[in-house]
């Protein structure tokens, strides 16, 4: 009965990952068979300033986006759950951003945020505010990319939170109301703990996506200006496909996969801790 599942996992997951690990341990000259190089690619990673910069940017983007999406998503989810009349239509609208292909999101961001002809700066000008460089400013590019991802994926978190909230036992809230718990106190002491497992699930789903975030960055900045948005994914892609340095690119991706796996494990433990 489990044989098909095992075969599927072996062919589709274990083999590609195992192959990537093997490539990461090889020196690969184009057109030549890979040659084991005794982990030299990993030693090179440790000494590569670009790798550490990529790791820093990957984690920075991850933390900023995840926090923003969880906070705004929770607020939006609770708002939706409580206003029954708006739920249907707003839910439909909310679904739209994350139904859009990343290429469309990237192209939209380029057009909207272009400092010369984008509508974002036009709106700022109408409000009497100075123009921004958005994706072209090395100091703000990660924030801008995080904002794009937050715009796209916060509704996803909101829908998860709304579903989680609506499945909570109503009598607990009624009892809290009888006991005089209101507003912030009720949210902090009751809603948030009860939503814990739901939020951890949302965090796991978004973590995997955020740590392997590639498409929108590649379309909008290609890792620039300079290396200001060269996350590990972008770095690995460029190393592999533009510089034909496939062994080193594989080492970067295996390292990133380990980070993703580690974060999922950490959230799995957290989920056990917050289950009620």
């Amino acid at each position: 009965m489990v044989a098909p599942a095992l075969v599927f996992a072996g062919v589709m997951i274990v083999f590609p990952f195992g192959y990537a690990v093997w490539l990461s341990l090889c020196e690969i000259a184009l057109g030549q068979p890979p040659r084991l190089n005794g982990g030299a690619n990993y030693a090179r990673l440790a000494a590569d300033a670009d790798f550490w910069n990529g790791l820093r940017l990957t984690l920075l983007l991850y933390v900023i986006s995840l926090v923003a999406q969880l906070v705004i998503g929770t607020w939006l989810g609770l708002l939706l759950a409580r206003s029954r009349w708006a739920r249907g239509i707003i839910r439909t609208i909310l679904v739209s951003p994350f139904m859009l292909p990343p290429v469309v999101i990237g192209m939209m961001a380029i057009v909207i945020l272009d400092p010369s002809f984008g509508i974002a700066n036009w709106i700022l000008a109408q409000l009497g505010l100075p123009p921004r460089l958005w994706l072209s400013d090395p100091d703000t590019v990660i924030l801008t990319v995080a904002a794009i991802d937050t715009w796209q994926w916060t509704p996803f978190v909101a829908l998860i939170v709304m579903g989680g909230y609506l499945s909570l036992p109503g009598e607990v809230f009624e009892a809290a109301e009888v006991d005089g718990a209101r507003g912030w106190q009720r949210f902090r002491r009751l809603t948030l703990p009860l939503l814990g497992p739901t939020l951890v699930t949302a965090a796991v789903l978004r973590s995997v996506d955020l740590l392997r975030f590639f498409d929108v960055i590649y379309i909008t900045t290609q890792g620039g200006p300079g290396t200001a948005s060269t996350t590990l994914n972008i770095m690995a892609y460029r190393r592999g496909f533009e510089f034909f340095d496939i062994g080193y690119a594989s080492a970067i991706m295996v390292t990133l996969s380990a980070i993703i796996f580690g974060s999922v494990l950490a959230f799995a433990r957290l989920r056990r801790a917050v289950t009620w």
Binding site: L30, G224, Y237, F241, F243
Partner: protein, 433 residues
């Protein structure tokens, strides 16, 4: 004999070797009738036009085609995957031999076209390989191995809004040093128009940048083949290119490549650009640009008196792993024949064949509009005076170009002086040699 002449003649020599046999030539366009070949192209005016023309090829040869066109980055990624996997599914691909030629050849990815050219049974008697100029042949020949046949010639050209210059009373830049002065005057007299635009995206910079270095008398390579960004004239070129972007370029220029530059020029928001000759047809699609634009080769440096911007040419190659090489070669011949290149002219593809460039069809087409004539004249000069050298000698060309682009970005961002950025670039470039 000089090396350039030696390799430059390889394509012609291969064809010439076939001449005595031509008397018994059994070449037949329909010899590969019934085959299907797979073609992978970069998104380019040539490939877009080819998609419409390829039905003619099938009608003439009976060979069917499957064409895939991708944007350049995706094209290279997919090509690398196919070739590294030794896939026999791909038969023909576009290549920029000046960029990836050494690496691809070392990897054994190119089929050698010289034996095909020399085979009278496989090469049309009127193909006339010698019609391609020696420099274009040389760019596609490595140690007598012909890796590609040329499909176009291109390079960055200086486009400027003649109407804006006239309205603001600013003379047309005659020397490179006149460009910053003109940009300053435009900025002072009309704040509604962006004075200058050029590529600011790191990997895209060298194509447009190298002309600034060369025209001021510098070079990205020293005479002994070492990185040359720190040479005084090269630093001046770096400073001028970066300052133009910084002081007079559009906001966000560091993420701009040809798409944004052309959009700005086409929509009438910028007064001067240094952008590809290849984009000429796209620029002409915007209203009024055919009337109000001027185009010429990048003005020479005042002291050096030379103009030597980048000059490149795409080619098409046959995969060494292809099992349908004769059919693929039939396609290459048809696509680079005089007849097909003549048809491609109207799509704005600059023909690499001298006979087409100087032929009546091209002449008639350029005579229709003054700007077409100016474009054609600029291309003649580009072919004659341009340079295929974008970086110091290395097999790791894409990385080297990124280091040069990075130096420009550091200056634009104010994170390094031109001298510092040049020194750092040279150190990095030396590691790639």
């Amino acid at each position: 004999m000089k090396r350039r002449e030696l390799i430059g003649g390889a394509l012609s020599a291969a064809a010439a070797a076939a001449v005595p046999a031509r008397a018994q030539s059994a070449f037949d366009w329909r010899r590969q009738d019934g085959q299907t070949i797979n073609l992978m192209f970069n998104n380019h005016p040539w490939s877009q036009a080819m998609r419409d023309l390829v039905a003619d090829f099938t009608a003439r040869t009976g060979i069917r085609t499957r064409i895939e066109i991708f944007n350049e980055e995706q094209f290279r990624a997919r090509l690398t995957t196919f070739m590294q996997g030794r896939s026999a599914d791909l038969d023909v691909f576009m290549t920029l031999a000046s960029r990836e030629g050494p690496v691809f050849r070392k990897a054994g990815w190119y089929a050698d076209l010289a034996p095909l050219l020399a085979d009278p049974a496989l090469t049309a008697p009127d193909y006339d390989a010698a019609d391609f100029s020696a420099s274009i042949q040389a760019a596609n020949t490595f140690d007598r191995q012909v890796v590609a046949v040329p499909i176009n010639q291109e390079g960055p050209l200086f486009y400027w809004r003649k109407d804006v210059f006239e309205r603001l009373g600013i003379p047309e830049p005659r020397y490179l040093e006149d460009i910053p002065a003109a940009a300053a005057a435009i900025k002072a007299r009309d704040p509604n128009i962006i004075p200058w635009a050029a590529r600011g995206l790191r990997t895209a910079i060298p194509y447009a940048f190298v002309g600034f270095v060369n025209n001021l008398g510098g070079s990205v390579v020293t005479p002994d083949g070492k990185p040359g960004m720190s040479q005084p004239a090269s630093i001046r070129g770096l400073e001028m290119y970066a300052n133009l972007l910084k002081e007079y370029g559009p906001p966000g220029a560091l993420n701009h490549t040809f798409t944004q530059v052309i959009e700005l020029l086409g929509s009438g928001r910028v007064a001067m650009v240094h952008e590809s000759s290849n984009e000429f047809a796209n620029i002409m699609r915007f209203p009024n640009r055919a009337k109000d634009l001027g185009v010429k080769i990048l003005p020479p440096g005042r002291e050096s008196g030379i103009s030597k911007p980048a000059a490149i040419g795409w080619g098409i190659s046959i995969s060494a792993h292809s099992r349908r090489q004769p059919a693929a070669w039939t396609f290459l011949q048809w696509a680079t024949s005089k007849e097909t290149q003549g048809k491609l002219v109207s799509a704005g593809v600059a023909p690499p064949r001298a006979s087409v460039f100087q032929g009546p069809a091209f002449e008639a087409w350029t005579a229709e509009l003054p700007i077409r004539r100016a474009w054609a004249e600029a291309l003649v000069r580009l072919g004659r005076e341009g340079s295929g050298v974008f970086q110091p000698p290395t097999d790791r060309i894409p990385e080297a170009r990124e280091k040069i682009g990075d130096a420009v970005q550091q200056v634009v961002l104010g994170r390094a002086t031109p001298a510092e950025a040049a020194r750092m670039a040279d150190e990095e470039l030396a590691k790639l040699q």
